[in-house]
Symmetry: C2
Subunit: 245 residues, 2 copies
DNA sequence: TGAAAGTCAAGAGCACTGCTCTCAAAAGTT
DNA sequence: AACTTTTGAGAGCAGTGCTCTTGACTTTCA
């Protein structure tokens, strides 16, 4: 889709009927691919199945999409942009000045999109598809939209009042979550408070989030040379968050 | 491996030569599967390739392993236990009393194993393999070893002195990481301090870690009913960590 | 208008996958 | 020695990505 459309756009000619039909077919392929991706995940994405749904023989789709990996790249960019759009929309609906609310909006936008599109989220942030290497020149720009938005939020906050230290009063735990924590305490024989368990689960998931980013190469190829130091810092903060003085 | 051995063990008979050979063959299959998994990832794991390496025709391996999914389960349990062993070993090498050091040891054990075995880590904590559903009765016990160890660390600390509040003095940033942060600031036109960037990256990865846990179902099937509340709490803490008062 | 150029879908085919079935040989048991 | 169980081989089915050739169609241009 992107490739074909940019070809057409760069030519700046009125679309010939043929070019229109071609762009439409590629758009259809991406749409069907997205549906398959959403249903079964990236590893199960099959060009032949897309061809069947398109009502065409399997070899025909190769006229429009170079390979399965090419389609995967199209879908990757597609998904990154949809997530980026969701985050941008959530931020736009927030007052410029309330930085905490803006962060919360960003976080919730990421989560709702991920829950709505688990397989596509998995393509972006899960284990890499074997044998597939995303072409950086096409994926880094859309792939960094969320981080850039996050940095802007934090940057704005610091520019305004130089980083407020974390509040220490624990946020309130609602009844539903309290019941979950009760069950966990019973199951594991733990005596940790609701607040400690909330922090603990965050430390747990954050630990694996940090490790996953490094293992799956989601920081970007050349972002961090001092990965060990970065991880040590993160562990320090997580230990503090867990309450391990 | 597990199935066969438990059959033999439950019979409590001395191993017949045939049973010995069978157990050995299954062990070989798991070993070869682990090698393939480590090289190409779960989605590319092929029973036929394993059969070739074993020097046997493809249908023969079905005498030992019910299906590809069955082999995947074997490898899943295998990986969980190796990670669990690594964490336990790291904890055993730590003084009982230094809870912060124990947490750091656990974290570093997870990270080194993950970096050593990226594809197997991906099987455990990446996007789910399409069409494969891990049998809970065989995977939950080994799959929860790390969390249980983590909870024990935190529990011990709280039992001893009731949860020390997080220290507020920022940990020192080394020269290597400082250079990385300089590059990031230059690239993004940010003026955030090293400490703010360290916290920011942790917030970033932690956000996606938390979302991934929920999307990929790594909390366990029935652990949290109040997922929304839990996420809100996590966002609160992350906002605090990011310095968004 | 008519021929050349460009574009397209179809089909066959290759090498791979998971998995099932049958059959004969090997191994263990009585 | 006869019988039973276990095992490996091979064929086969349905699926995959991808390539190549062939014939038909559309656009362009003289």
């Amino acid at each position: 889709m992107l490739g074909a459309m940019s070809d057409v756009e760069s030519a700046a000619k009125p679309l010939t009927p043929r070019a229109r039909a071609r762009a439409q077919t590629i758009a259809d392929i991406v749409r069907l691919g997205r549906e398959h991706l959403a249903k079964q995940g990236a590893a199960a994405l099959s060009l032949r199945a897309v061809a069947r749904d398109l009502g065409v023989v399997s070899s025909a789709v190769y006229r429009y999409v170079e390979s399965r990996d090419e389609l995967l790249t199209l879908l990757l960019v597609d998904a990154y942009n949809e997530l980026g759009d969701a985050v941008d929309a959530a931020l736009d609906a927030c007052p410029e000045s309330d930085h905490r609310a803006r962060f919360a909006a960003l976080a919730h936008a990421v989560r709702s999109w991920a829950l709505r599109e688990p397989a596509r989220y998995g393509l972006l942030f899960g284990s890499p598809v074997p044998g597939y290497q995303a072409p950086a020149e096409r994926t880094t720009e859309p792939g960094t939209r969320v981080v850039r938005a996050l940095i802007k939020v934090v940057d704005d906050a610091y520019r305004e009042h130089g980083g407020t230290p974390a509040q220490t009063r624990p946020p309130a735990v609602g009844p539903g979550l309290h019941a979950d924590f009760e069950a966990i305490r019973a199951q594991l024989g733990s005596t940790l408070s609701d607040d400690a368990l909330a922090r603990g689960t965050l430390v747990w998931t954050a630990l694996f989030g940090t490790v996953s980013f490094e293992v799956f190469g989601q920081y970007g190829p050349e972002t961090f040379r001092a990965n060990d130091e970065l991880f040590d810092l993160h562990v320090e903060h997580l230990a503090g968050l867990a309450g391990l003085g």
